[in-house]
């Protein structure tokens, strides 16, 4: 039977465990410890979420809608068939892949192709090869950066008319935030950065300010140690009713109407 690792050894390797980067014997020793340690199980959940966040760092590449619908239909047929005990035909006809690629995606694709072609020939042979591959990966990332900036501009342009974007800024100070407002679902999601740490007993509070000067609280929040925070809320508001979004510092627990100085604010585009 595998001897469990100590708590300290396990905690040190939970990140690698979440990445599935451990040797089988190390994995087994950690799993033996996890059975008896709730705090390590909690830490593993945080590490799994962290590893999965890396998966969201990749460029968004939606599947072609027609092909995606075919995959979905096939899945649903498989699910139905499984219930009724019938074996479905695995390969439903999928229409040919459409083209061409937009120029910015094509640029990213050509870089990816160069890296992939290089890897297909060389990966896994020797150290020098891997070092070169690392350089290629960095070039790949650098190349993607420009196309990602372009893609973001494209996505922002595509967001309307349902999603409106509000940039919140401060006067001569670093804090800033970006709010997304989906009018069809009344959903508000804000990402804030570079927020000063809060004094004890204080909170940040988010306000939706309407054209007729109503100040509606959209909740309170506190930043993490890096000054980042994310807030999500639902509130129905007519499309043309929003005048401004603002963040103030308030007593812990929040207040019905703003009392503190405005830290950041912005108007819908």
């Amino acid at each position: 039977m595998t001897q469990p690792w100590t708590h300290e050894n396990t905690m040190a390797e939970l990140g690698a465990y979440a990445l599935d980067a451990l040797a089988p014997d190390e994995r087994a020793a950690i799993e033996a410890h996890l059975k008896t340690c709730a705090s390590c199980r909690d830490e593993l959940t945080a590490m799994r979420n962290t590893a999965a966040a890396m998966g969201t760092s990749v460029p968004t590449q939606p599947m072609d809608r027609i092909r995606s619908a075919s995959v979905k239909q096939r899945l649903l047929e498989r699910a139905k068939a499984e219930r009724s005990g019938v074996t479905p035909i695995r390969s439903a006809a999928i229409p040919a892949r459409p083209s061409p690629l937009p120029w910015w995606l094509a640029a990213a694709a050509s870089i990816a192709f160069l890296v992939t072609a290089y890897q297909a020939v060389n990966i896994g042979r020797e150290r020098d090869t891997l070092r070169t591959a690392l350089i290629s990966e960095s070039l790949h990332v650098a190349g993607l950066r420009d196309s990602l900036a372009e893609r973001e501009r494209t996505l922002l342009a595509m967001a309307g008319p349902d999603v409106r974007v509000v940039e919140l800024v401060a006067n001569n100070r670093r804090p800033n935030a970006r709010m997304f407002w989906a009018q069809s679902t009344n959903t508000w999601t804000m990402f804030a950065h570079n927020l000063p740490a809060l004094p004890s007993g204080r909170t940040y509070q988010l306000w939706l300010i309407t054209r007729d000067n109503q100040r509606i609280s959209a909740g309170t929040f506190a930043p993490n140690a890096s000054g980042d925070a994310a807030v999500s809320a639902q509130y129905p508001l007519p499309a043309d009713a929003l005048q401004m979004i603002a963040v103030t510092e308030e007593p812990a627990g929040g207040v019905p109407q703003p009392t503190g100085e405005v830290l950041i604010a912005g108007q819908p585009r």
Binding site: R48, P62, K72, P100, T116, G124, E152, S232
Partner: protein, 208 residues
């Protein structure tokens, strides 16, 4: 919500604001319905997550056809494993992306054993209109935040993480192939993952 308190909830109630219910609670409810054999819940989960699963699969495999297979297999595994899903072990998005990465790396490893040609045509699927603009916006913003956090890591830590996550290499394999001592690689992974956890934990508040 970050820093939410009972008093705040009372204030929110007065103002008519509710926390966004379309986050992980909604995904967990879909999994519960899938456990009961409700195929429409699988369809909804697919609509919410297939683009993100596909994005990761394409990035890992650089092949549109393989990525499509991985998308199908990921959701099939979710359907078959819905009864075993344990929310305490991570949210639904984490679970789906973990399945996708695992299946993709299996394919990548088998490809390394038997190198195949990859064509430019297969390298990326074409861009298409987003099914949910808000999901797309939030995904874009979180992706930008995660990339910024990765870029802040010392380069050797970032590259070590990328080899582990995107190439599926173990710490021993990374040590062997980079010529660094295993202890150094383990330290890099430990420090980098701890930094990312601290830096990115707040995103759990608004999981897309």
């Amino acid at each position: 919500m970050n820093g939410h308190t009972g008093a705040t909830e009372a204030a929110s109630e007065r103002s008519g604001i509710t926390e966004n219910p379309t986050l992980d609670t909604a995904d967990s409810a879909l999994l519960a319905r899938m456990s009961g054999g409700d195929e429409s819940a699988l369809a909804t989960l697919y609509d919410r997550w297939s683009d993100r699963v596909h994005s990761l699969a394409v990035h890992l495999l650089r092949d549109a056809r393989d990525a499509e297979d991985i998308v199908e297999e990921t959701f099939w595994q979710a359907w078959r494993g819905a009864t075993r899903y344990d929310a305490a072990r991570g949210n639904v998005g984490t679970w789906l992306l973990t399945i996708c990465r695992s299946r993709s790396l299996d394919k990548l490893r088998s490809r390394r054993r038997r190198p195949e040609e990859t064509t430019l045509d297969d390298a990326h699927a074409a861009a298409a209109p987003q099914p949910g603009a808000m999901d797309a916006m939030v995904t874009m913003e979180t992706g930008r935040i995660v990339r910024a956090a990765l870029a802040e890591l010392p380069i050797e830590q970032r590259q070590t993480l990328e080899l582990a996550y995107f190439r599926g290499l173990s710490q021993s394999e990374i040590a062997e192939k980079t010529g660094q001592p295993l202890g150094t690689i383990k330290t890099r992974v430990r420090l980098a993952m701890a930094k990312l956890r601290d830096k990115l934990g707040f995103l759990q508040e608004v999981r897309p």
